[in-house]
Amino acid sequence: MSMSMEYVVELENITKTFPGGVQANKDVTLRIQKGEVIGLLGENGAGKSTLMNMLYGLLQPDSGKIIINGEEVNLKSPQDAIVRGVGMVHQHFKLIPVLTVTENVVLGLEPILKKMDVRSIPGGRTIGAVLPIDFGTAAKRITKIGDENGLPVNPNSKIQDLSVGLQQRVEIIKMLYREADILILDEPTSVLTPHEVDELFVTLKEFVKAGKTIILITHKLRESMALCDRICVLRDGALVGTVARDDTSPQDLAQMMVGRPVVFTTEKEPKTPGEVILSVQDLHVLDNRKLEKVKGIDFEVHAGEIFGIAGVQGNGQTELIEALAGLRKPKSGIITVDNIRISGKRPRFVREAKVSHIPEDRHKRGIILPFTIEENIALGNHYRPPFAGGPLNAVLDLDTTHSITENLVEQYSIKLSSTEALASTLSGGNQQKVVVARELSTKPRLVIAAQPTRGLDVGATEYIHEVLIALRDSGVAVLLISAELDEIQNLADRIGVIYDGQIVAVKSPGEATQTELGLLMAGHTDEASEEGVAIS
């Protein structure tokens, strides 16, 4: 008894299989001590989130025991976990954009006006559901929690008006409002700037000092090394091992995660860029709400060059990409590819000008999940030979599509059961490979690669990086837009930093450190003013 009391959470022999046969967790046993920061490390699909969703009561294990504070529990819903002090910040925030901060925080635990609170009497809980919520007190408490923990937020703002960083703050406040002392954070840094990550880590360290236990789900080695006391590595749903931070290294962890040694930096030969392929002059683009998101951007990308655009999400990258791909009409400015003007033209015109686009949102713009892989490969070129034939190219040539798909699947080593399987049956990495295969099969002159490795595991990321470098070496112009600084620094020959719709600096990868780039991404221009360059 006294042995088990030391642990706040014990997961014993947890096994979970999803309907459909995917085994997400295989016999995982995990013990977490009070006041420690434990890292749950693994590639996408390794079963980290599933395991934690079971601890939070969102999912139920098929077999195994969950013990919280020495008591074996059967968590039927998050409510059961919340009352035992478990809180969770999901990777995709559980916030409702049209509601205010207060409404989001109190949801499920609404305070009732004091004089009307009848929830203590029998049946009062039901009646309480239609009594007035005490928004005033709730807002005060949220402000207080925010101030005490260095997480100030306006309780009356709507979530949709907040930045991603602030939204995460609301999620953390939501846990504190419920008085959680076991905090689960699922990939909390994937949406933050480097500076915001530092701030988050400071906050989390404060929580640990206050006696809270933190479980950090991540696939980033650096983060787990920076914050965690112990790190558990999951692979294919099974626990590979648990190591203390001081006894391990990023290389070891990576090997545990992937199951083989990993190369961190991609090798790349120096290359002299050729003629200008993409030229952008004084580009202005509006977003859906008619706000100017791209505010006068100029740059050029040469043949045989990777031009990286680094920046925090929401600084105009999306609108820039859409304007370049012909998906959004720019307000003004000139875009040319190979001296053909493409600004304001339709996507088909842009594609026929030999521009390929690996979109940032794979599911929205890259792939149609309920279509087969063959159909997805044909998309975009489906109207012309070799995919279409017959009079007026009106008939799809299914045989050719099939053989082309087979070739691409082999060339890009896409793992699938059949080329006629639905795209939705593929893993994220293989879906992305389908998109890349299709986009590169047209022999482009310019490739726009937007967040090409978002959500991909180490192996798939490595592969995509190699492909992009091979393209560059073969004389294609590559425009790489990414929120991952590592990726940009690794791949790009020149780095442009985008902030508030403008390219505030262009650096070579050797010239700028991550810290400098991070500051530029956050809008600090001290360094530039030292050089006497006026950047506004």
Partner: protein
């Protein structure tokens, strides 16, 4: 009480509505007496025509705010109309009739609720089933109960109107408000209550969350299924009441298919009202006004009678124009999407 959620814009809107009512009343006051009487008649008819639309529309709002599309309102209204008439006929008590209509409406909607919430069925298919079921069952029961086709025996104990004799002598207020059904007044009350429930209470917050993003509600520890189901049941209760108003409030007998599409118009009123209680009220009153204008033209301009069908069509055309061109409605985001907990593999 914290009234922060009322933003300035909606305060201006409220002011504009109040101002136009006052200006309208002043203008009416200066009209000749006969015209005041006509205006009063128009107001009374508008209220009568609007009541079933607003009640069912508010019902639809409860369902859809929770994420369940309820196109079955038409069938539920018919069942409410039948139950109201049958209970009032046999029990000789209109209030029991209304109660029965509310209960049967809720029961009928709970079929839809079970199909859509528990078994994650398609909302449109289930809703269509409810329409057909309600239409067929109410017609069948009409013949079983009263042994008549088309129309049942007249109900003598209908819901008594409220009288305000003090208003009787006024040329405008007399015809408009001196005799008014309590259900019409209830329509206004329930609109206010619905606003309060939706925007000020835990249940309302949870219902809206269920319609916007059920996974968030789930993760907050609240049962999505129950929340959605209760929303659907409330929609049935209100639609049942709206139906009963037709058979024992405004009229005094049940007739086959007597709702004649009101369930659908109330859905339009709900969308037109942007899924908000006062929006639904305004839209319902507007549609009620269009319908009463139709009667008005038929009575006061008989020369236009050959075009009666054309005029009867106008409200619907206006709805299409209004929905398509003028107003952009924002439905709840997770509407018609069943909530699956374990979505993987």
């Amino acid at each position: 009480m914290n009234w922060r959620l009322i933003n300035w814009q909606s305060q201006y809107r409220t002011l504009a509505v109040l101002a136009s009512i006052v200006i309208g009343l002043i203008a009416i006051n200066f009209m000749p007496v006969e015209q005041q009487a006509i205006a009063g008649w128009l107001v009374a008819t508008t209220l009568q025509m609007a009541t079933p639309l607003v009640l069912a529309g508010l019902g639809g709002m409860y369902s859809e705010r929770g994420g369940i599309v309820n196109i079955g309102l038409e069938g539920i209204m018919l069942m409410g109309a039948f139950t109201g008439a049958a209970v009032a006929y046999y029990a000789k008590d209109p209030w029991l009739g209304l109660l029965g209509a509310v209960m049967v409406g809720g029961l009928f909607a709970s079929i839809h609720g079970v199909a859509c919430v528990k078994y994650k069925g398609n909302h449109i298919v289930s809703g269509t089933g409810i329409i057909l079921f309600g239409t067929g069952l109410s017609t069948l029961l009409l013949e079983l109960v009263w042994h008549q086709k088309g129309q049942g025996e007249p109900v003598t104990n209908t819901v008594p109107d409220l009288m305000f004799p003090a208003l009787l002598d006024h040329p405008f207020l007399g015809p408009a408000f001196s005799v008014i059904s309590p259900i019409v007044l209830f329509m206004f009350i329930i609109t206010g209550v619905s606003w309060f429930v939706l925007f000020r209470t835990p249940f309302g917050l949870r219902l809206r969350a269920a319609g916007e993003d059920p996974s968030t509600l789930d993760s907050a520890g609240v049962s999505v299924q129950w929340t959605r189901f209760i929303g659907v049941v409330i929609s049935g209760c209100l639609a049942g009441l709206g139906g009963a108003y037709l058979s024992i409030g405004f009229g005094s007998a049940f007739a086959k298919e007597m709702t004649s599409g009101r369930g659908f118009i109330s859905l339009a009123a709900m969308i037109f009202g942007n899924w908000t209680p006062f929006g639904v009220l305004a839209a319902g009153l507007f549609f009620g006004f269009l319908i009463s204008m139709n009667y008005f033209i038929q009575i006061y301009f008989p020369i236009l009678l050959p075009f009666a069908n054309f005029i009867a069509m106008l409200p619907y055309v206006l709805v299409i124009i209004a929905l398509g061109l003028i107003r952009k409605s924002v439905p709840p985001k997770a509407i018609a999407i069943p909530y699956e907990k374990e979505k993987k593999g």
